[in-house]
Symmetry: C2
Subunit: 207 residues, 2 copies
Amino acid sequence: MKKKNSTQRNREQSMQKLVDAVGKIIIRDGFKNIGINAVATEARLDKVLIYRYFGGLDGLLREFAKQRDFYIKTSELINKEVEYTGKDGLKSVIIKILTGQLRELLGSRELQELMLWEMLEKNELTGAIAREREMKGFELSMALKRKMDIRNNDSDAVIALLVSGIYYLVLRSRTVDVFNGIQLNSEEGWQKVENAIKQIVNTYFNQ
Amino acid sequence: MKKKNSTQRNREQSMQKLVDAVGKIIIRDGFKNIGINAVATEARLDKVLIYRYFGGLDGLLREFAKQRDFYIKTSELINKEVEYTGKDGLKSVIIKILTGQLRELLGSRELQELMLWEMLEKNELTGAIAREREMKGFELSMALKRKMDIRNNDSDAVIALLVSGIYYLVLRSRTVDVFNGIQLNSEEGWQKVENAIKQIVNTYFNQ
DNA sequence: AATTTTAGTCACCATTCGGTGACAAAGATA
DNA sequence: TATCTTTGTCACCGAATGGTGACTAAAATT
């Protein structure tokens, strides 16, 4: 079997076109408008290929999720920083991680759509993606806990609450301009959120 | 025109059946499965009545939203408490409000579905409902701000972050059991969240 | 060169969607 | 009693959905 790069009749290229079509639709219309017909039309290919190459829409979506690594990368990058940071520098590391997650999610429309999807449908697919991401976050919380005082066993709930707040605000900014007086569609508003994060972390982790 | 309570040919009763069908579907299948056909089937009535009595699905949904008051009631109830509370009691009032919102949202499946809906669709309907709720929350933030130190102008962002965190955790609990090590489907987990809220508020609003 | 495998197009299916017109019967009005 | 309005059922429409079988033609195998 020789591989030819002829523009016609190229299976790999067609498969990639279909995967890319998924991303385009998610960014343009959101995940809820994804369907066999929509993807095939977007890719300018016939929908029967989705069944042949991926076994159906689910398989295609799985391949899509595999290609883009959908988890918060900042966690992994800075995770080890926690280990080698003294108790004093811990606060700034936490702040760096949280603001990093804020900015990363804010910058990735695809990730936003995926997280919304996870929130209202419990697929095998969304479950798998979410599980991977949650594991990263959990590692962070555990790493923090080892550094913290043992008698303070609610630090993970505090982190969870802050991360959740970040997630909600970013996802909410898609459909609303103002939340609790915070401008969700201007850099000024996000600066205020970042400041709030810093202040909470600095005051809470001082005790 | 005499009003008769005959079981057949009763307009008001049929209208109410349609409105109730909306609620049933939202609770059972979520908002995304709401459609003309589904509502009519659930109400055991013909869909043409939805057009005649409500002008369409939108009008029916508006009536549905009007009947149930979809906003966080705790805010309104405790709002005035803020005014007549000294600076010392302020922390406990904030905690009471936040935990109240947590419990209220946790207890209302309908409200959860509605908030999810607001997050991913920008209807005239979802917009109106959201706007009303946001106003209540904003009033609270403003009332707090008046009590607080003027130089601290990020308290509203802190509140917004906490409220957002509460919203996200509750909504996430619909499709996931654990978030950051917090058990979202057990009272124990929510106790931890409440404790985290208390600790954050107590440390932050101490300065 | 002949044959088999593969990539891709096309036509079609049953189902469901939102939406509408026609019609029968019940109730109100005269 | 006769007429008119209202309530509700039914049948249908076009469009879009997910899904499949038949076919053409390119490419690989023999």
